[in-house]
């Protein structure tokens, strides 16, 4: 069953041109030129129930704008959106009862109040009966291990504890779909790991569909099974994480330390990234070059040390961001 269906979605923002210096005075009483920016440019995709999707892109790519249209925060300029069968612009209230949002940069909790007070308040916003709400808080506070600080003011909690509370608040009404917009921003590695595990747990055990945005590749690598990369408002890649790794992780980085200085000849599939004294860093495209060919570049006797690693996923994503994905395939 499709949870999200997006067809030819567009969002444009119109602003007025700003003039500087003398130009500013010249245009004081004139109609200012309009600047139309396509934040989201004709994108289509769908998400199946139970999926965990990473929706990533560089700053200003259009990912947050897309999420805001999916949640009913922004009205689309054109195109169709169906989330859980609802049109977010027209059926926002019905939709919001079935989705949850965790924004890393926008806290929903009242910082001067305790987490418990916040949960009771959120419960009243979602019209959850008191008894049911208390049971749900009890259940989630065990899963998220927040019992020790549930009665402390949110302002006194660490960022990691606060994010856990944000997640509990977003789960009180049992949403079917959860939007995470950079939830791990500013967290230390341990807190990040805990949060990632909890998101995975929500997806696997509770069957909640996850749409996740993050600039941290570790987040998406661990949490998501599918990735959509968006840049300049257009979808540049929509594939499973498995395929992404299979197709794009064909480049190996070989670092060798030889006994003597030699000249390594570059050819198709072999590129010397760095050469200093007897140390070489070589990028090898395994689709073009075999391991034998690689080892033939130097004599085994000359070899002092060798290490072979895969291109980090982060570098691959950076390359895709730059629009050079065609070159990589």
């Amino acid at each position: 069953m499709k949870i999200i269906e997006v067809k030819n979605l567009q969002k444009t923002f119109i602003s007025k041109k700003k003039y500087k210096g003398k130009e500013k005075w010249k245009h004081l009483f004139k109609k200012k030129e309009k600047i139309i920016k396509k934040a989201v440019d004709d994108i289509s995709f769908s998400v199946e129930e139970g999926e965990s999707l990473a929706f990533i892109g560089p700053n200003g790519a259009g990912k947050s704008t897309t999420i805001k249209m999916l949640t009913g925060i922004l009205y689309p300029t054109s195109g169709e959106i169906k989330v859980l069968g609802y049109n977010p612009s027209k059926e926002r209230i019905k939709l919001s009862k079935e989705i949850g949002c965790v924004f890393g940069q926008k806290e929903q909790l009242w910082v001067h109040l305790s987490a418990m007070d916040n949960f009771l308040f959120v419960g009243s916003i979602y019209d959850i009966p008191k008894k049911e709400l208390l049971e749900r808080i009890e259940e989630l506070s065990s899963v998220f291990e927040i019992k020790d600080f549930i009665n402390q003011p949110v302002k006194s909690l660490s960022l990691g504890q606060r994010m856990k509370c944000e997640m509990v608040a977003s789960l009180l009404h049992k949403p079917k779909l959860l939007f995470f917009d950079e939830p791990t921003i500013g967290l230390d590695p341990i807190a990040k790991e805990t949060l990632r595990n909890l998101v995975k747990k929500m997806n696997k055990e509770l069957g909640i569909t996850i749409l996740f945005t993050s600039h941290d590749v570790g987040d998406i690598e661990e949490v998501c099974k599918r990735v959509i990369i968006i840049n300049n408002g257009k979808i540049m890649l929509d594939d499973s994480m498995k395929n992404l790794k299979y197709h794009y992780l064909n480049k190996k980085i070989v670092e060798v330390n030889l006994k003597k200085n030699i000249k390594i000849k570059e050819k198709e599939g072999i590129k010397v990234l760095k050469a200093k004294d007897t140390m070489y860093k070589i990028e090898v495209d395994m689709n073009i070059t075999s391991m034998d060919e690689l080892m033939g570049l130097f004599k085994a006797d000359d070899l002092q040390d060798i290490s072979i690693s895969t291109t980090p996923l982060e570098d691959i994503i950076k390359t895709i961001y730059r629009g050079a994905n065609d070159e990589m395939v």
Binding site: F13, S64, K68, T71, G72, I73, L74, Y75, R92, I93, K94, S96, K97, I99, C101, F103, Q105, K106, E107, Q108, L109, W110, V111, H112, L113, D117, F121, S124, I125, Y126, D127
Partner: protein
Amino acid sequence: MGVKNNLFMIFRYVKLNLKKQAQYKTSFAMQIVMMILNNAFFLLQWIIVFNITKSIGGYGFKEIVVLFGICAGSYGVAHLFFNGAYKIGDLIYEGKLDVYLTQPKNVLLNVCSSSTSVSAIGDIIYCFIAFIIAGATWWWYLAVIPVLIIGALIYVGVVVCFQTLAFYIKRGNAIADMISSAITQFGAYPPVIFDTVSKVLLYTIIPCGFMYFIPMEYIFLGFNIWWIVGMVAFAIFVDALAFILFKIGLKKYSSGNLISGRL
């Protein structure tokens, strides 16, 4: 069910906001006391005026005390329950409506009731002190409660109508602030001093007439169904207009990416 749940939400907001601010007990009490004193100083000016003349167009000290009491009381109810209405322009300008838009409540009602002014309690207390000073009868106390609620609803409606300008004009809320200030300032003077043009304004865009002048007549002269109908009809008109303008404006809303939290 919807009305009940929305009322529950409004009272829950007030409770949480007061609980949040009551953490600083001295500051909490000071805000209330200072507001009562601030309003009392206004009466001092009128005592000086009425030492010179006995009445202004038939309005004596007693009438002025009641008029300003209603004015402060309506202001208090509006700011106690719907203080968020006065911040809508800033929220629109800074793109901070996102949280409200992801919650299953009417956005405008949610935003308006999300904030509470503690000093508004001082205004409401002052209203009743003013009634005691004016020698109120039991009818006055009975009549003033719906009057304050209707007045607050009109006040909030007018403010929201002008705050929604922020969807179209940067810092459009400055006009709303000006109107809001005009409502409290004009409402504190006896209606007899205004000419026809001013009165047109006072029964339209600065509706002190429906908020203070008619209610005062209603309190002094006794129950009159037509005054009540007039006030309620105007409140419904203004609030419906506010909801419509806000809904239309929301299509223009461009969310922001500023890091923010609820304080």
